[in-house]
């Protein structure tokens, strides 16, 4: 990969739809299980979708996970009101008797709000899907290349490594890798295999060779991706804004999310254009 490329970060849009889908599916499965009647709840409660969904959301947005004798989730009144920060000043500790203690990680000045980490500080999207707010202090967003999930898995990469810098639009080197890998798979299976081996063996020289050789193609694939995401975000934002906020109170945060993604990808587009 040329020096220009190695300093760059990128990937594709919307894992958000996928994440929200997962939560909705999970909620519906829980609701279905409750309707089978094993748990001693009244039929009136079980059949009240609003109440069941409320209970699910309370659990989902207020739990703290810890490992006692097993994976455990707890909700502690008052503690459950502490908000998220990508640079939290507190952490939650749970002792073996289930008492919950909030401990200051740093000296906290008078006037500071207490904060904990509710999720990956590099990516606001999962936090939005689970909690319903858009963290504005994330320095990166996830490359939303869900269409390359097979390549991501095959190369052994993690979603949290596939990032775009919010301030600059720079693309992470591993994002280049997954786009290149897909191109190789489609055009030269033998080369794809060698690239795969180079990734597994941390053979940077071979990776560099393939990156340089296929650079124009990878660049074009990334450009296509960036254009598509921006188009999607703009279309979806436009669509969202046609809804009445009184009947769809979640529209503003959806618009904010889409605009954040679009703005970051606009910077990425400029960087890619400068590359050729």
């Amino acid at each position: 990969m040329c020096t220009k490329c190695t300093s760059n970060y990128l990937s594709l849009p919307s894992i958000l739809g996928w994440l929200t889908s997962n939560e909705r599916i999970n909620y519906s499965h829980f609701a279905m299980a409750l309707r089978q009647g094993y748990v001693p709840l009244s039929q009136e409660t079980i059949s009240n979708k609003e109440v069941v969904k409320w209970a699910y959301n309370v659990a989902l947005t207020r739990y703290h996970e810890c490992f006692l004798s097993e994976r455990t989730k707890v909700i502690a009144p008052m503690v459950d009101m502490i908000n998220h920060s990508s640079q939290p000043n507190c952490e939650i500790q749970v002792d073996y008797e289930g008492n919950v203690n909030v401990v200051a990680l740093y000296d906290i000045q008078a006037g500071e709000t207490l904060s904990i980490s509710l999720g990956d500080p590099t990516n606001p999207t999962p936090i939005f899907a689970q909690y319903g707010f858009l963290p504005n202090d994330c320095s990166t967003i996830f490359c939303k290349a869900m269409h390359l999930e097979p390549q991501i898995k095959e190369l052994g990469y993690d979603f949290t490594e596939l990032l775009i810098q919010r301030e600059t639009g720079e693309i992470a080197p591993k994002v280049w890798d997954i786009f290149l890998y897909e191109i190789l798979q489609q055009n030269d299976p033998n080369a794809a295999n060698q690239f795969y081996q180079a990734v597994q063996n941390n053979d940077e020289a071979t990776k560099e060779q393939y990156n340089a050789e296929y650079f124009p193609y990878t660049l074009q694939a990334l450009k296509d991706h960036v254009y598509m995401i921006q188009r999607d975000c703009k279309t979806l934002t436009y669509q969202a804004q046609t809804y009445d906020v009184n009947t769809h109170p979640r529209v503003p945060v959806i618009v904010a999310h889409n605009e954040l993604v679009a703005a970051t990808f606009a910077m990425t587009e400029q960087l890619l254009e400068q590359m050729g």
Partner: protein, 247 residues
């Protein structure tokens, strides 16, 4: 007596917290009447006088909202509903009522009576007029010190819930595992199911629930993926969206 209890409870904290708790929280009122109802449930019923002592850890003047509650000189029962507001139909929280302000201060008083402790200066705080709350430190707090301590008596714990519900919950969990078989990894989601079941069970008890003040302080409207309408969902960048719209 309460001090002893707290110290006993904290004994399994690592050293840092032990020091903090024993040094910061030694002025719990001694005039509390404590009865151990069972080995797992300890109810502290404070007299009016002891409440003022207990609030030494709390904001000095908690503005109790408009709702009035009955005397706090309660008898010790397992049905501590003295904070429950009156006039609520069937005693259930009205989930659809998104306009009534969240009653977080009654919840705070309730939690304090059950042994919740805060470092001096830690207070509830809202920037948006009472929709979203967080906690603010009005006094400095040094690294490693305890900001809040919440005793297990009022903590919802997925492990304990499993014990509380036994077979009935186990059957529901098996149902989830079967429904989720195609997706897999359902076992990791079961602690969330247990919390949900517990919340629903306590909701059903209405004002009789130990957790009523907490339930009554919670937001009723959410903005996350689960809450989104079909219209909202259609405005999110696409991927596997359609198959999820099964509700």
């Amino acid at each position: 007596m309460v001090n002893i209890l707290l110290q006993r409870r904290c004994i399994k904290f690592h050293c840092k917290e032990q020091k903090v708790l024993s040094s910061q929280y030694t002025s719990i009122p001694n005039n509390c009447n404590m009865k151990t109802i069972s080995t797992s449930l300890v109810i502290v019923a404070c007299s009016a006088a002891s409440m003022s002592c207990a609030s030494a850890f709390s904001p000095p003047a908690i503005a109790t909202p408009t709702k009035t509650h009955t005397s706090t000189t309660s008898t010790t029962t397992t049905k501590l509903n003295q904070y429950a507001p009156t006039g609520m139909q069937q005693g259930l929280i009205n989930i659809a009522d998104i306009y009534t302000p969240r009653d977080v201060y009654t919840m705070e008083q309730w939690a304090t009576q059950y042994g919740l402790q805060k470092a001096p200066g830690i207070e509830l705080y809202s920037e948006d007029g009472g929709n979203d709350y967080t906690l603010i430190a009005n006094q400095g707090l040094s690294a490693g010190s305890s900001a809040i301590y919440c005793p297990s008596d009022i903590v919802l714990n997925s492990g304990n819930i499993q014990d509380e519900f036994g077979t009935s919950l186990l059957q529901a969990e098996q149902a989830v595992m079967q429904i989720d078989a195609a997706v897999g990894e359902a076992q990791y989601r079961l602690p969330l199911l247990r919390l949900m079941v517990k919340i629903l069970t306590e909701y059903e008890k209405g004002q009789d629930s130990l957790f009523f003040p907490w339930l009554n302080s919670l937001p009723k409207q959410f903005y996350n993926g689960v809450s989104m309408t079909k219209a909202c969902f259609s405005c999110l960048p696409p991927y596997a969206g359609e198959f999820a719209l099964v509700l």
